[in-house]
C-alpha cells in the first residue's frame, strides 16, 4: 500500500491519542503534555488511516521519531520520515540538525548522513548538515599549553561570575570562558556573550567563546528516556559532560574545569555532581565557593528580579560596571521582555 506523509496536529485530541498510542507501542512512553508544546512540527506517515511512522522537530532538534517496520522495506519509512523533516527544516533555513536517540538507533541515523558526537549507555547525540563539531572547534583560537575552562550562561554576568573567572585566571596559564548559546534566557545569547567579554576584557589570559550548539540546553532533551525530572537533568548533563570531555577538552587541551557552588539550585547541583563523576581524570574539576556580598551569595536571579522591580541602584553590589551599564542602557527593553512573559526565576 502506498504511504502518504501528512502534517499532524497534536492539539487535536484524537490525533494526539493516535500519535501517543503509536509511540507507546514502540516503547516510547512517559512523555508529558508539556513536552508536546515546544514541538514546532509533527508529521505522520499513513497507510490509509493507519499511522505507520512519525517524527517531530523542535527548533533544530529532531524528536519522537518512531517507525513501524511491519509492512515497509528495510528502513524505507524511517528514511522517508527523516528526509521529510530535514526538507521542512531546510525550507526554514535550518540545515544544521541534531538528534538525541537511543544508542541502538545511532547506526540508522548514521546511515542517512548523521555523525555521532557522543554516546552514553542510555543515549546517543548526533548531528547532520553543512557544519559539524569539528568545524566549531577549528574556529576557536588555540593556546599553546594547557588551558582551564568555565561554562556559564551569564544571565546576566555578575560579580559572582567575575570572581570565578578571576580565580581560574590566577591559577591557570589560560582560561576559556564558554557562554551557553541557547536563547531561553532574559538576556539573549549575543547580549550575554558581549557582557562576558566586556566584564573580562582586562584579564589578558582569558578568551571568551560561544558554546554554540555543543553545550547543550537542558530544554532540548526529550524526557521520554526518563522517569523523573531529576533523572532528566542527570541524563542530559551526562551527554553534556561527555561532549566536553571527549570532544572539546582534547581539541583545546583543556585540563581543568572550574565550577561555582550552587547552594540554591537543585539543577546546578546535579549538574556539578555529574561533571565531577564524568570528567576526571581527563579533566580535573575545581569547585570555587560562591562569592558573597553582605553575607548573601550573589545570584543572577536577584539581578533579574531587581530589573523587574526597577531597583537598578542595587545593581552595583551584584554586577560589574560593564554589566550595570548594559542593563541601564537596555532597561526598557529588558522590562518589556519580562512583561511579555519571559521567565526570570529559573537558574
Amino acid at each position: 500500500m502506498d504511504a502518504e506523509i501528512r502534517e499532524m496536529n497534536l492539539h487535536n485530541p484524537d490525533e494526539f491519542e493516535q500519535w501517543r498510542s503509536f509511540l507507546s507501542g514502540l516503547g516510547i512512553a512517559n512523555f508529558t503534555a508539556d513536552e508536546v508544546d515546544p514541538l514546532d512540527g509533527t508529521i505522520g506517515l499513513f497507510e490509509g488511516d493507519r499511522l505507520m511512522g512519525t517524527g517531530s522537530y523542535s527548533e533544530n532538534v529532531l524528536k519522537y521519531i518512531g517507525v513501524c517496520h511491519k509492512t515497509s522495506e528495510n528502513g524505507a519509512y524511517f528514511n522517508k520520515i527523516v528526509s521529510t523533516l530535514l526538507t521542512q527544516l531546510g525550507q526554514q533555513g535550518i540545515f544544521h540538525v541534531f538528534v538525541f536517540t537511543k544508542p541502538q538507533y545511532s547506526d540508522s541515523f548514521q546511515h542517512v548522513g548523521f555523525q555521532e558526537i557522543v554516546h552514553s549507555e542510555s543515549a546517543a547525540f548526533l548531528e547532520t548538515g553543512p557544519t559539524s563539531i569539528t568545524d566549531y572547534l577549528a574556529q576557536i583560537p588555540k593556546f599553546a599549553g594547557e588551558s582551564a575552562a568555565i561554562v556559564m550562561n551569564a544571565n546576566p554576568f555578575t560579580l559572582g561570575h567575575r570572581y570565578l573567572v578571576e580565580a581560574a585566571a590566577q591559577q591557570s596559564a589560560h582560561v576559556y570562558v564558554f557562554v551557553v548559546s541557547t536563547d531561553k534566557s532574559l538576556f539573549n545569547s549575543q547580549e550575554r556573550f558581549e557582557m562576558v567579554q566586556a566584564g573580562t576584557a582586562d584579564l589578558k589570559n582569558v578568551d571568551v567563546v560561544s558554546g554554540s550548539d555543543y553545550l547543550v540546553s537542558y530544554a532540548t532533551f526529550p524526557a521520554y528516556f526518563l522517569k523523573s525530572d531529576k533523572s532528566r537533568v542527570r541524563y542530559q548533563t551526562t551527554i553534556d559532560a561527555l561532549i566536553f570531555k571527549e570532544r572539546i577538552a582534547p581539541a583545546l587541551n583543556i585540563t581543568t574545569r572550574y565550577l561555582g557552588t550552587e547552594p540554591h539550585s537543585e539543577t546546578t547541583n546535579v549538574y556539578n555532581e555529574v561533571l565531577e563523576s564524568v570528567l576526571p581524570p581527563t579533566v580535573r574539576v575545581k569547585i570555587i565557593p560562591r562569592k558573597e556580598t553582605a553575607g548573601k551569595i550573589i545570584s543572577a536571579r536577584d539581578v533579574r528580579l531587581a530589573i523587574k522591580d526597577n531597583r537598578l541602584e542595587s545593581l552595583d553590589t551584584l554586577v560589574p560596571k560593564t554589566t550595570a551599564t548594559f542593563i541601564t542602557e537596555h532597561r526598557a527593553e529588558l522590562q518589556e521582555r519580562i512583561r511579555k512573559g519571559m521567565k526570570i526565576d529559573g537558574n
Partner: protein, 97 residues
C-alpha cells in the same frame, strides 16, 4: 560564482541522493555517505565535481547522502541544490544540462 546561502535538494529515499551545498573556504569539498561508497564513491564524487565545475564555483562544501542514486539523479539534484545556493533557480542552466 559564489555560494550565497546553504541549500538542499533530494531526499533520503531509495534511489535518491540528498545534496546540501554551503559556502566553503577551501576549494570544492565533497563529503559522501553511501552504501555503495566502496564501488561507486569515486564516480559519485566525480559526477558532483563535474557539475560544480560547470557552474564555475570555486569554494563550496557539498554534503551528499546517497541511497543508490543513478548518475542522472545525482546530476539533477546537484544542479538544483547549486542553483538554489547561487540564487539562480529562475534561470535554466542549459549549458550544464
Amino acid at each position: 560564482m559564489e555560494i550565497k546561502k546553504t541549500a538542499m535538494d533530494g531526499t533520503l529515499e531509495s534511489s535518491d541522493i540528498q545534496i546540501t551545498v554551503s559556502k566553503g573556504t577551501d576549494g570544492v569539498q565533497i563529503d559522501l555517505t553511501s552504501d555503495v561508497q566502496e564501488r561507486f564513491g569515486a564516480q559519485i564524487k566525480q559526477t558532483i565535481a563535474a557539475v560544480v565545475a560547470a557552474f564555475d564555483v570555486d569554494n563550496v562544501n557539498v554534503k551528499a547522502v546517497d541511497q543508490g542514486a543513478l548518475d542522472c539523479v545525482i546530476k539533477a539534484r546537484t544542479i538544483t541544490a547549486l542553483q538554489r545556493a547561487l540564487g539562480t533557480s529562475a534561470e535554466p542552466a542549459w549549458e550544464v544540462l
